[in-house]
Amino acid sequence: MNRLAEAVKRIRSSTEKNGTVFEIWRPEPDQDFANSPEAHFAFEDFDVLKEEAESLLNNDWRLVMAVPTNETDLIINKKKIYFLFTIEPGSNVNESFSEAQSSQKNTVSNSCFTGSFVVFEWMAEDEKLTWVIDKLKDFDHKRQNNVTINSTREDKPENYLQDIKFLKQLFPYFHEINLYFNYSTSDGKPLPYPEFKRENHEGEFIPVYSRVIVGPVHAGVIPPGRFTFDLVGERVHQAAIDLGYTHKGTEAIFEKLADQERPEMSWKQGLKVAGAVAGDMAAAHECAYCRAVEALAGVYPTQTTNWLRAILIELERIVNHLNDVGTIARGVAFEKPATHIWMIREELRELFFEWTGSRLLRGCLRLGGIGDSAQEKLFNVWSKGFPDRLSEILKAFYDPIRLSSDPKKEPDDLIHALWKHPGVRDRIKDLGVLKRQDAISLGAVGPVARSAGSERDFRKQHPWGPYRDSKIQDILHEDRDEFYDEKNGDAMSRLAIRLHEITISLRLLHEWSAEKARFTDNAKEKQEEEVLEGIQQAPAYIYRLGYCEGWRGEVIYWVMKGEDHGIFRVKVRDPSTINWRVMEHTLNSQSERPRMGIACFPLINKSFNLSYSGNDL
């Protein structure tokens, strides 16, 4: 059923008297639905907004990001906050997708199939604003949601690090989530480790804690972050993750690009900054940024461009998931597959260099299309079917051809060597369990959420370009796999989901490269100038979303245009922003598991593998 229409109807009927402004934006129907439709509401009264938000959240919507801006500051001295909600995947996602596929019409009600957004716009008064900003700081997990809003704060790192500690009540979800449990010795429950207790002068046994503080500088090639563990013996009683050491003010950099003679060129330069938000997820970040800017300009890329972008994103997913599998293998001291995986990773990076000129698939995109050098080579390679060299490289790891050949034959490749090894299984089974309801209520995204049994995947809920193919959707919705029998949210299922997604990505690439229709599309490539012109024609302070599913989860960009045609505000939502707190919750919710020692932390960390830079921005 059409859930966006339902939500819109409900919100409209309940807020008609409150002067709510309402608007639906949807992409041009003939542009292959570059973006999903969005319903926008503007609220004046915060209580009404909160009520509506709660009703949305109760009806299987979830909040994905909140954007404070100050575009009205100059005129009426008020700030605005945008809340962006999206649909939580339900059981009938697949049906409604095929329904929508069969009845594509230009009306709003039919074009909203599974993916759509609701945006709440709230003009904030000062007193309420302070309160909300405090809560949002937690959600955004960094110092400055907006440079101007928070400029009164003293510019000291200590202040920041105190600020970003988790608050008990998480505003975005309107749930009471107890992240920390109180471990004060006076009323804390006795812990089942008598040897780590001592008797105090009143004759009570109290646990003996030792505190291990790691970081910000770690003993390895890792970005900085501070981890604090309170231990009882070896067991982790409580863990805290303090981040923010790689805070570069990335969103402010976007705004600073506009101070030039030709402000519209800032959109072009913004692409470089977008690629540097999280260096290992550059293709997804660049793609999301491009899609946001293209939606703003109303200039949509051709099918071929979309197809090549999707290929880049899937390639990035394959190489990074492979990398994670390797680090997990090394984490359980199974060095042999790890080394083989480094070899494969290196060969893949060299292959990417050949195709795109970047080993990390960085800087391959441009506004409106693919970068000129990458475009030609990528098209030449992929329009001739699945590249032999790619399957040759991946053969030792996973044989894609086996998918269609004899399924009864015992597979003999690295994936199975790792997956079936009893030592590996014993080490990562039931390690760092993230419960399904926790994953959902904390808003976990990406493979982390999917390994816990959630279905959150922007490829399924907000498909674009080649993902909208029904065959592709069928592959994505297939969740039966030899690696994917259990989704209980432990480190093993996080390994399993990575193995699973590598095979899914390979199958997607096979499908796309086999489909000849993609290459007969003779539409002219959209040029950068067309996009920049389109931006100049758009009204000031208009905002659009761009998103895609990167390998860590959904990447969302929110861009707003200023009066001088330059960037006014860019808001980045990297998946790590949310998943870091999910990981902290995971560490803190293992109290009943005696195996959760401090030595397990590196392995749990590796199984999450989150970006520091994407979180700190």
Partner: protein
């Protein structure tokens, strides 16, 4: 054994030769001049990220792993700055990391004829790169920590510099 290793191409012995590394480095950066294989190097490297995007870390990880295995050329990774000869920094130096970076640099041994060495890896560390306009960046970046001339400074540009270029360029600059 679950895994019949004979059925695979074993690649342990397939790490890249010095010539191949130089070839790749020259491919990635045109200015690079291939040089002969370094001998007698023994440089303990400590990595420090002061606000990078993670791309330089990916390449730096590859430097010490198969197939590059930089230990063969006398560049190896250590866990603490107290035993390091060279501090390899990545990223723009931001305010939150300033103190930690200072402490890390100060913890490195000095004296006895040896001076501290630092390597700026990636465009961000050298001149800001794509994050040049960062409001959190310390003016003067790393020079505010080690000043000019106090330590041997190596510069490895690139966004990110490839693993081959890091090895070849670093070895070339050190053995000069």
């Amino acid at each position: 054994m679950m895994w019949k290793s004979n059925s695979h191409r074993l690649r342990w012995g397939k790490s890249l030769s010095w010539q191949e590394i130089c070839r790749r480095a020259a491919r990635d950066h045109r200015d690079f001049q291939p040089l002969s294989k370094p001998h007698g190097l023994s440089i303990a490297i400590r990595h420090l990220d002061c606000g990078s995007c993670g791309a330089c870390e990916l390449e730096l990880t590859a430097v010490f792993d198969a197939p590059y295995l930089a230990e063969r050329f006398g560049l190896y990774l250590v866990a603490s700055p107290r035993e390091a000869d060279l501090l390899a920094v990545t990223g723009v130096l931001n305010k939150n990391m300033f103190e930690a970076a200072q402490a890390t640099y100060q913890a490195m041994p000095e004296g006895g004829g040896s001076s501290r060495m630092v390597a700026l890896i990636g465009d961000c560390a050298v001149h800001g790169g794509p994050l040049e306009h960062s409001p959190e960046r310390i003016p003067g970046q790393y020079d505010s920590i080690w000043g000019n001339g106090e330590s041997r400074k190596f510069i490895i540009p690139g966004c990110p510099p490839s693993a081959a270029f890091i090895i070849a360029n670093l070895a070339a600059q050190i053995s000069q």
